[in-house]
């Protein structure tokens, strides 16, 4: 492993961390490739799971999906460790750092002091890399930030042992054995088909159907109900789309970039271009959808539930079309 580590910025934390880790340990893979190979584009609307009293809405697969699937799909051995307590976890991390070994960590954004105060919420699935230590400060490469940052070990340990939904339990990971001679052409095909299957699932709370279920729920929101609740609900949908993640329909753009990049593996390029274009359309539509949600929360008296719901349905149609094409990829 090379001694020198250079920080780079990414659109999304988990795909960014895994891309950097794999590249660092010898397999050069871009962020869109990592995201696409692990079939991470998704939509989930689970009203029974609550985060700050709001339903769980995700525009990608649930946390840890990329870490878990990258080993399965590429046959990479990934060492994954969780710990009983902070002291043990911190000692082990220091040991890795002293051995100059790059590792990924799962943390809670709320306890990371270098995050701007307004961004610090109890989101427990933020990924970052540790690449060094100076005194009691760890050198951290946080994929969402422009520059590398420092974080005191006490505070980092606290962030690693946050409680609640997706509690990290000190989770640390790094790749060990990376196979060579990977047959990317067949791996890519499988990954795309798998993503098509999950996006087109008949389960009403996921994929294209999940988008429509959320749209239905929005269209049934009563404009005369508590304006505070409406405002919080609508902006929650937007926050799940944007925050920590990537701008607007950012995950759609990330997947569209993946479809473009895999053209080098001798697949049906016309089909890939068309699907990529459709996902860009969906991403743009999701941004308009977010804009409508925000406009309505600013002026609840102008809240037009059907108009917002229709935008989401429009995005879902582009995605349905894209994945129906991708399902057939040869």
């Amino acid at each position: 492993m090379s001694e020198k580590f250079e920080h780079s910025q990414f659109a999304h934390c988990e795909s960014g961390v895994v891309s950097t880790l794999l590249t660092h340990y010898g397999l050069k893979l871009s962020e869109p490739m990592v995201f696409g190979l692990t079939s991470s584009l998704s939509f989930v609307f689970l009203p029974i799971i609550k985060l700050n009293n709001m339903p769980l809405i995700a525009y990608r697969e649930l946390p840890k999906n990329i870490i878990n699937k990258v080993s399965k799909v590429l046959g990479i051995e990934i060492v994954k460790k969780t710990y009983k307590n902070g002291v043990e976890a911190n000692n082990d991390l220091t040991k890795f750092v002293e051995d100059k070994q790059l590792v990924g960590l799962q943390t809670s954004v709320f306890y990371l002091p270098y995050f701007p105060k307004d961004m610090r919420f109890h989101f427990n699935a933020h990924n970052l890399l540790v690449y060094g230590k100076e005194g009691s400060d760890y050198k951290i490469s946080d994929p969402v930030f422009e520059e590398a940052v420092l974080c005191d070990e006490k505070e980092l340990t606290r962030a690693r042992f946050a409680k609640g939904v997706f509690a990290p339990k000190g989770f640390m990971y790094y790749p060990k054995n990376i196979p060579t001679n990977l047959d990317f052409s067949s791996i890519v095909k499988k990954a795309i088909k798998k993503n098509a299957k999950s996006m087109l699932t008949p389960f009403p709370y996921a994929g294209v159907k999940g988008m429509r279920t959320l749209a239905k729920k929005i269209s049934k929101l009563n404009p005369n109900s508590d304006p505070r609740y409406l405002k919080n609900y609508l902006t929650h949908i937007v926050r799940m789309q944007e925050e920590i993640g990537t701008g607007g329909g950012g995950f759609r753009f990330l997947y569209a970039a993946f479809l473009k990049e895999v053209k080098k593996y001798d697949l049906d390029n016309e089909l890939l271009d068309e699907a990529s274009s459709l996902l860009v359309k969906s991403g743009n539509t999701l941004r308009e959808f977010a804009l409508l949600c925000v406009e309505s929360s600013k002026k609840i008296d102008k809240f037009d539930a059907n108009k917002i719901a229709e935008k989401l349905v429009e995005a879902s149609k582009y995605e349905e079309e894209a994945f129906k094409l991708l399902k057939k990829i040869q």
Binding site: F110, R120, F121, T235, E243, G247, K260, E261, V280
Partner: protein, 131 residues
């Protein structure tokens, strides 16, 4: 190829940090670019302000002898009931009781110290809470 619009608006909640997203260049190749979104800013601000409102409401209720300081610090730490219960390792119905002033007054130091630890404060800040 569809164009991707990259918003270049101000987002004060990021404190000067610029995030990146994927977009296409003139040749249709994907690359990352800095963006700033006022939509994102507004959504974050609403969430931040909601906790400020909850804190104010909690202070009013503490004055009336209804809510306990634990409720105030729960909102101060941007937590909801399930998160706080998970942090202190107690059942939600139990924590919910501790959010009421008359139950709070009966709590012993052992329980109070669990909450103080969760909020990263001294136990006195709970006991001698002044509105």
């Amino acid at each position: 190829m569809e164009k991707i619009e990259v918003p270049q608006e101000e987002n004060k909640t990021l404190d000067g940090i610029k995030k990146v997203m994927y977009t296409t260049d003139n040749d249709g190749e994907f690359k990352t670019a800095n963006y700033g979104s006022s939509v994102e800013e507004f959504a974050t601000q609403v969430a931040v302000e909601e906790y400020e409102v909850l804190k104010q409401e909690s202070l009013e209720n503490i004055k009336k002898g209804l809510s306990s300081p634990i409720e105030y610090f729960m909102f101060e730490n941007r937590m909801d009931l399930p998160t706080l219960a998970s942090v202190v390792g107690m059942f939600q119905f139990r924590v919910k009781r501790h959010l009421k002033m008359n139950n709070f007054k009966k709590l012993n130091d052992k329980i109070l110290s669990k909450y103080a630890q969760a909020f990263n404060i001294k136990i006195e800040e709970l006991k001698d809470f002044n509105v």
